[in-house]
C-alpha cells in the first residue's frame, strides 16, 4: 500500500466513513509498509528540500554555518511534527472552506512557541537566526504536509510523516550548512555552544586555517550554487539506480 493509496482512501471518503476508516484495524505488516513508504518519501524520493524545493528561503538564508542550519532544522522539525499531529486530530472538525487559515493559525502558534523557547534557552542562536525563526510560519513544507497529508490521515501516520519530512528537510539543511561552513571558514560546528550549551564547545572542529576565507560560500549565491550541486548529485544517484 503506497502513500498515494493512503491519500485516496482518506480523500474519497466523506466524514463518516473517514472516521470509520480510522477505526479499521490495519494489519501489522501493511502498517509497517506504510511507515516504510513514509520514510522513503520524506527522506529521499519526495524530500522537501531537494525534490519539492519547498522552504527555500530559510534553506538558503541561514545555512551559512552548520550550527545555524541545525538550529533551524530542529525548530522546523518540531513545528512540522506538532502541526501534523494537531491538524490530524482536528481534521474532522474543520470546515473545508476555512481549513487553510486554521492550519496557518495552528502553525503560527507553534512557531511562536518555538520562538519563545529559543529566545529563552538559546539566546545567541536566536539572535543569529533572527527573522528566519518567525518565518518558519511561511515554510511551504509545513503547510504542504498539513494540507496534503495530515488533514487526510490518522494521527500516528501524520506524526510519522511529519518526523520524516522534517528529518529530510533538516538533512538538506545540515548538508548545505556543513558544505558552506567548510568552504567559507574551514570549520565545522563553529558556535555549537549557542545551540547546545557550553559543554558542546569541544565539538567545534577546525579543518584548516586560512587568512582568506572563500566569501562566496558564506553569501547567498554560494548557497544557490551548492544547492544546485546537491540536487544534481541526487538526480545522478537516482539515474544510476534506474540504469542498474
Amino acid at each position: 500500500m503506497t502513500q498515494e493509496t493512503v491519500h485516496n482512501t482518506a480523500n474519497n471518503a466523506d466524514l463518516e466513513s473517514d472516521i470509520a476508516a480510522d477505526e479499521v484495524v490495519i494489519p501489522a505488516n501493511e502498517d509497517l509498509q506504510i511507515y516504510k513508504d513514509l520514510s522513503w518519501q520524506g527522506l529521499w524520493k519526495n524530500n522537501p528540500g531537494i525534490v519539492q524545493l519547498l522552504g527555500l528561503c530559510p534553506l538558503l538564508a541561514v545555512t551559512n554555518t552548520l550550527t545555524n542550519a541545525l538550529g533551524l532544522g530542529l525548530a522546523t522539525l518540531f513545528v512540522v511534527i506538532a502541526s501534523n499531529i494537531l491538524i490530524s486530530l482536528i481534521r474532522h472538525h474543520v470546515p473545508k472552506a476555512i481549513r487553510i487559515p486554521v492550519f496557518v493559525m495552528i502553525i503560527a502558534s507553534l512557531v511562536s512557541c518555538i520562538q519563545l523557547l529559543m529566545n529563552a534557552y538559546t539566546y545567541q542562536l536566536y539572535l543569529s537566526l533572527g527573522i528566519f525563526i518567525p518565518l518558519i510560519v511561511t515554510n511551504c513544507m509545513i503547510i504542504g504536509r498539513a494540507e496534503a497529508f495530515a488533514s487526510k490521515n490518522n494521527v500516528k501516520h501524520s506524526a510519522f510523516d511529519g518526523l520524516m519530512m522534517g528529518l529530510g528537510f533538516t538533512a538538506v539543511l545540515i548538508l548545505l550548512g556543513a558544505g558552506r561552513e567548510i568552504l567559507a571558514q574551514g570549520t565545522l560546528f563553529d558556535g555549537i555552544e549557542t545551540l547546545l550549551g557550553d559543554w558542546a564547545s569541544f565539538m567545534t572542529i577546525t579543518l584548516y586555517n586560512t587568512d582568506t576565507s572563500f566569501l562566496l560560500a558564506a553569501l547567498p549565491p554560494g548557497a544557490f550554487i551548492l544547492m544546485g550541486l546537491i540536487i544534481a548529485l541526487k538526480n545522478f544517484i537516482d539515474n544510476k539506480i534506474v540504469n542498474k
Partner: protein
C-alpha cells in the same frame, strides 16, 4: 562608378570556431604587450597559469561527459576564457586566485550549463565576479606603473610573489604597490571613488600629484591598445560593429548626462571610455557570440544596456569598475532581448 551585384551566399569564407577564437586571442595581444610593458611581466605568469588550468579542466570534464576531448580543447574557447580572466585580475594576485576563478568559469559556468554554446553567462566574467566577491583584498591589489614602483620587481620576484606572496627580498604585494613617496596607489577609477568618499571633488583629485603620478596614463595606454586590437577584429570581420559601437556610444552619452549636471561628482565621458575595462569589454567580452544577443537590433540594445549599467554602477554602485557586473546582468536579459527583436520573416505580417 561600377556597381556589381552578386548572388548569395555573400560570405564565402566560412570561419570555424578555432579560427575565430585564435583571431580574438590575436586581437588581445597588443593590449597584453602594452600591459606587460607598463606593469611588469606578471600578466604572462597569470595567463600561463590560467590556460594550463583551463585546458586541464576542459579535458577532464569532457572525459567525464564522455565527449571528444581533443576537438573541445582544439576550439580554443577554454583558452580564450582563461586569457580573458587572467588579464582581468590584478597581475600579482596569488596563484590560487586565478586557478579557482578558471575552475569556476570552465566547470560551473560553462560545462554545467551544457558546454560551449549553451552557457547563459560569459564564463570569464562570471569567474571574475566570483573572485571579486570572494577575495576582495587580492582582487584590488592593482600595481602602479613600473616606473612608479618603490621596489624594482624582477621576473623572479614576480614568480615568487604569485606563488609565495612575497618577493625574493621579502616584500609583500601591499608593500610593492606602495609608490616611492609612500602613497598606496590604485586604479584611476578607485582613486576617484575614494576621493569622492572623503568629500573631494573630481577636479581637485585630478589636480593632485597623487593622481597625475597614478597609473592613469598606464590605464589609458592599455585601453588604447585594446581599442587597436578590437579595430583589427572589426577589420577582419571576426566581430560585428553593432555591440562595440552601441556600447561606446552608450558610455559616452550616459556618462555625459551626470557629468554635465555636476562635473565635480561625476567623471567625464573621456575618463569613463579610457579607464577600467571599457575597451576590453567593448570589443572582447561583450561580443562573445554565445552570451550576447544575436539579432541586429538586439545587439544594439544589448550594447546600450551594458553601457547604462556600467555608468550607473561606476557612478553610484559599491565597486569601482562595473564591466563584469554589467555583462552578467545584460546576459540575463539576452533571451528577452532576442525574443522581442526577432527580424520579421519576409512576406509575412507581424502576428
Amino acid at each position: 562608378m561600377a556597381l556589381f551585384s552578386s548572388t548569395s551566399p555573400h560570405q564565402r569564407i566560412k570561419r570555424r570556431t578555432p579560427e575565430i577564437m585564435k583571431m580574438v586571442i590575436l586581437g588581445l595581444t597588443p593590449g597584453i604587450i602594452v600591459h606587460s610593458y607598463l606593469f611588469g611581466l606578471a600578466i604572462y605568469v597569470q595567463i600561463v597559469l590560467a590556460v594550463v588550468t583551463a585546458v586541464a579542466v576542459e579535458a577532464l570534464f569532457m572525459t567525464l561527459r564522455k565527449r571528444p576531448v581533443m576537438s573541445s580543447i582544439g576550439d580554443y574557447s577554454a583558452v580564450l576564457t582563461a586569457i580573458l580572466l587572467a588579464i582581468a585580475i590584478p597581475s600579482l594576485a596569488p596563484w590560487w586566485v586565478i586557478v579557482i576563478g578558471t575552475l569556476f568559469a570552465i566547470l560551473i559556468v560553462k560545462h554545467l550549463y551544457g558546454g560551449l554554446g549553451q552557457n547563459i553567462f560569459n564564463p570569464a566574467m562570471a569567474g571574475y565576479v566570483l573572485l571579486l566577491i570572494s577575495f576582495p583584498v587580492q582582487m584590488t591589489a592593482w600595481l602602479p606603473v613600473q616606473s612608479m614602483q618603490a621596489f624594482p620587481v624582477t621576473f623572479i620576484d614576480t614568480l615568487s610573489l604569485i606563488f609565495t606572496g612575497f618577493s625574493v627580498d621579502g616584500y609583500s604585494v601591499t608593500q610593492i604597490k606602495t609608490s616611492i613617496d609612500g602613497f598606496t596607489l590604485a586604479t584611476p577609477l578607485e582613486t576617484i571613488r575614494n576621493a569622492l568618499h572623503v568629500g573631494e571633488t573630481i577636479s581637485e583629485t585630478l589636480k593632485t600629484t597623487l593622481f597625475s603620478l597614478d597609473s592613469l596614463q598606464g590605464s589609458q595606454w592599455v585601453n588604447l591598445a585594446y581599442l587597436a586590437g578590437g579595430l583589427l577584429l572589426l577589420k577582419k570581420q571576426v566581430i560585428m560593429w553593432y555591440i562595440p559601437v552601441a556600447f561606446i556610444v552608450g558610455i559616452t552619452i550616459f556618462s555625459f548626462i551626470p557629468f554635465a549636471s555636476d562635473p565635480d561628482l561625476y567623471s567625464s565621458p573621456l575618463f569613463h571610455l579610457f579607464s577600467g575595462a571599457t575597451m576590453l569589454g567593448a570589443f572582447f567580452i561583450l561580443t562573445d557570440p554565445v552570451t550576447a544577443s544575436t539579432t541586429v537590433k538586439g545587439r544594439i540594445i544589448y550594447g546600450l544596456l551594458c553601457a547604462l549599467l556600467v555608468v550607473v554602477i561606476r557612478n553610484v554602485g559599491g565597486y569601482p569598475d562595473a564591466v563584469a557586473f554589467a555583462v552578467l546582468l545584460a546576459n540575463m536579459c539576452v533571451p528577452l532581448i532576442d525574443y522581442y527583436s526577432k527580424p520579421k520573416v519576409y512576406g509575412r505580417k507581424r502576428t
